[in-house]
């Protein structure tokens, strides 16, 4: 019996405080921007595709620039290696030549 009584008490209809409806309507009127944002139509698909393409193009451009810089550095390093080998080889040959000449004199 207590349960039935408790349920009735909990589910009983209660009237809102006076002026409740007006307060709700006022709050809705006070936040027009928020309502507009919610009602804004979704951005078109082409806009997303353009953004994705631009990002992809930027990435490709960055990669191409990196590759070009690396290529130039590699070619420069190769030229330096050849120049260094030329100088080193030349001096070793100079030493060999000197040793041969000294040997032939004796």
């Amino acid at each position: 019996m207590n349960l039935e009584h408790d349920l009735r008490r909990a589910l009983r209809r209660e009237s809102p405080a006076p002026g409740f409806a007006n307060r709700v309507l006022e709050r809705i009127e006070r936040a027009p921007e928020r309502n507009l944002m919610v009602q804004q139509p979704p951005r078109p698909v082409w806009w997303r595709a353009a953004a994705a393409s631009a990002t992809f193009a930027l990435l490709l451009g960055g990669l191409a620039t990196y590759k070009l810089v690396e290529y130039r550095r590699g070619v420069e390093a190769k030229e330096k290696v050849l120049a260094a080998m030329q100088i080193a080889g030349e001096k070793v040959r100079l030493a060999q030549q000197e040793v041969r000449e000294i040997g032939s004199q004796h």
């Binding site: 590699g74 070619v75 390093a77 330096k80 080998m85 080193a88 080889g89 030349e90």
Partner: protein
């Protein structure tokens, strides 16, 4: 704290020999007097990068690639002067003084009036793990340091390849 100090000292001690092996090839007084200067500094990363640009199909390029493979660095300083013996001839000694006990003279050509060439090799057992070439000519002073295992015969045989010109010096022997 003690453990940290021990590890720090150990790291310092192991790093010291490597630092000690670094040879200073830069002599500002030479660069100031020289009419022409060639300075090439190629560390291990630059050599690795350069190695990728040598063709594996061409035998000559492959030879260079194999030669630089495993090297830790190539350093060249070459100075040309306007008149004879414009520089301190004792620079030989200053470079040699930096080399440790493992460095042995490979070739030593000395002359009071003409070219001097010293080739020093860092010998570890039977292997050459480094090379210093000091060539002192009346109007030119050149130091080359190759850090790493190198075959001298192959090095001298490279001249004349890849557009590297054969250099035949006119000798003015009496």
């Amino acid at each position: 704290m003690r453990k940290f100090l021990f590890v720090f000292l150990l790291t310092l001690l192991t790093a010291m020999p490597a630092a000690a092996q670094k040879i200073n090839l830069d002599f500002p007084e030479l660069a100031e007097r020289a009419e022409e200067e060639v300075e090439i500094t190629l560390d291990a990363s630059m050599l690795r990068m350069a190695g990728k640009f040598f063709s594996g199909h061409d035998a000559d390029e492959r030879a260079v690639r194999d030669m630089i493979n495993g090297l830790s660095g190539i350093y060249v300083r070459s100075y040309q002067f306007g008149s004879d013996w414009e520089y301190d001839r004792n620079l030989f000694k200053r470079v040699k003084a930096q080399l440790g006990a493992t460095w042995k003279p490979f070739v030593n050509v000395r002359s009071k009036t003409k070219d001097n060439v010293v080739i020093m090799a860092d010998m570890r057992g039977d292997k050459i793990t480094g090379l210093v070439i000091i060539a002192s000519e009346p109007r030119e002073f050149t130091i080359v340091n190759i850090d790493g295992p190198i075959d001298i015969e192959r090095l001298s045989s490279l001249e004349g390849e890849f557009g590297i010109p054969h250099i035949t010096k006119e000798r003015d022997r009496d």
